[in-house]
Amino acid sequence: MNNHYDIIIIGAGPAGMSASCLASKYKAKILVLDVAASPGGQIFRAVETNQSIDKQKFGANYLNGIKLVNKFRKCSINYHSRAKVWHLSENGEVHYLKDNKTHFVKAKHILITSGAQERPFPVAGWTLNGVMTAGAAQILLKESNLGIQNAVFVGTGPLLYLIAHQYLMMGIPIKAVVDTTPLSNYFRAIPKIVNLRGNFNEIYKGIRWIGDIKKSNTLFIKRISDLRILGDEEVHAIEYQKNGQWNKIECENVLLHQGLVPEINISLSVGCRKIWNQQQSCWNIDVDKWFQSSLPSISVAGDASSISGAIAAEASGKIAALNILAKLNIITANQRDQLAIPIHKSLKTEMSTRIFLETLFNPISHFRIPNNNDTIVCRCEEVSAGEIRESVDLGSKGPNQTKSFTRCGMGPCQGRLCGLTVSEIIADQLNRSVEEVGHYRIRPPITPITLGNLSTTKPAVTRSN
């Protein structure tokens, strides 16, 4: 059948691209579905079309992305850009939306490589116009050569410093960098240096970025303990607390970032088991060393299962592909094991930096669980932290009940920007673990579609008896 494949890969970032390239070498029939206009994922976004005079300023990693994208373009697969998956089932059926029409395809195995999103940063005023994520600023830069002048960068994590550094290299003025990393994280992270096993490159890079930012005379404020963004509809200023004092910086734009978390909605909707990762303070999709999920026909690789970065994602995509090829009897289990040895080894080296980074950049609990009851938690339905807490006082035992009580998570983003916060607030309020409290039950359609779109669905293929 035309719409039947060996493997459907959801997402064309580093994990999806490397998996496609590897699996296509063995003549597997592959379909790649990706929401973006071109391949690369967020990390290599617009790498083919970027017209920046000096791409070097984006850093070596971004330039390496061109090689991977070129390789992906050349491999023999079916690739659909701007394809939004809105439903998938554990027996390999996938429904997606493209050009306002829905399409149905089926595969023997599905590989989810949906990547990461930025962690919610619920502080007072984060819904005001003029507040964006730092990742959004980077997208404007990569895709359209646009820089947000005199913005205040706020938060923690390697990506925040990288983007501020890219701004610096491009000559875009920065009003201030306000760092929320607490001193206690440094003390906790230092003993983890042994885990690096000499793999200091990434750490040096980060130190250099911060060093360059400080040398540039950009206002750099460290170790703030609290934060609020002021404005009516538009941002006027941010206020931060340091050493018990509140200080104000006037600004029109605030760029927030406190790390990345897996994009789990696709995996959860099909029923993959999740586990709470205490060190990352977020959900991971439970996968084995072959990136096989709890469901026999679904694998989840790259940041979509656990945040590990682009290089690790490339490796995990290959490992997942080898495992799927073996399951489909395209290669033998022995071939899989042999071919995976060097990839598992390089993945292990790459992962050695994670414990250190995750410990150092784990966001302070009150930037994940807002103290201020007026702070909006669910941006779509405008439900505040106070209303979430009130639902618990009224007897809610978890996110799904709180959702019925308050409408949190019922808006178009489908809980992507409030899910973690809601689970953590409820766990905190009930004095239970997040694992026990759970997460929203994610149901299809996993991206909003209209009834008009739905009416374009062709009758499902008739199954042979």
Binding site: V35, S52, N129, E233, E382, R416
Partner: protein, 95 residues
């Protein structure tokens, strides 16, 4: 204040926001073209009617919803500009 950091020549695309002409660059998303033109208010939320504009730029947050050629609920950050595109602020849902 959002500013272009290079002056390379790209093909220009005429789009309209609330009836006003905006010269956008080919390959730009609607969200980036509007932000470049100084538009920050894209929609009002359906719950309380608060003003919103792009937040994540990657299709996750749905804060940048606009009406494009009479189609409501279009994610401005996920759609590229094309000639004569007519965009409206999405406020009609909240009354």
């Amino acid at each position: 204040m959002i500013k272009r950091i290079d002056s390379q020549k790209t093909e220009m695309i005429k789009i309209y926001f609330e009836g006003e002409l905006i010269n956008a660059h080919k390959g730009q998303t609607v969200a980036s073209a509007l932000l470049e033109a100084g538009v920050t208010h894209f929609q009002n939320t359906t719950s309380r009617g608060s003003q919103r504009g792009p937040f994540c730029m990657m299709g996750v947050c749905f804060d940048c919803l606009v009406e494009i050629d009479e189609q409501p609920n279009q994610q401005a950050c996920m759609v590229n500009v094309y000639q004569e595109m007519k965009i409206r602020r999405q406020t009609n849902i909240f009354k």
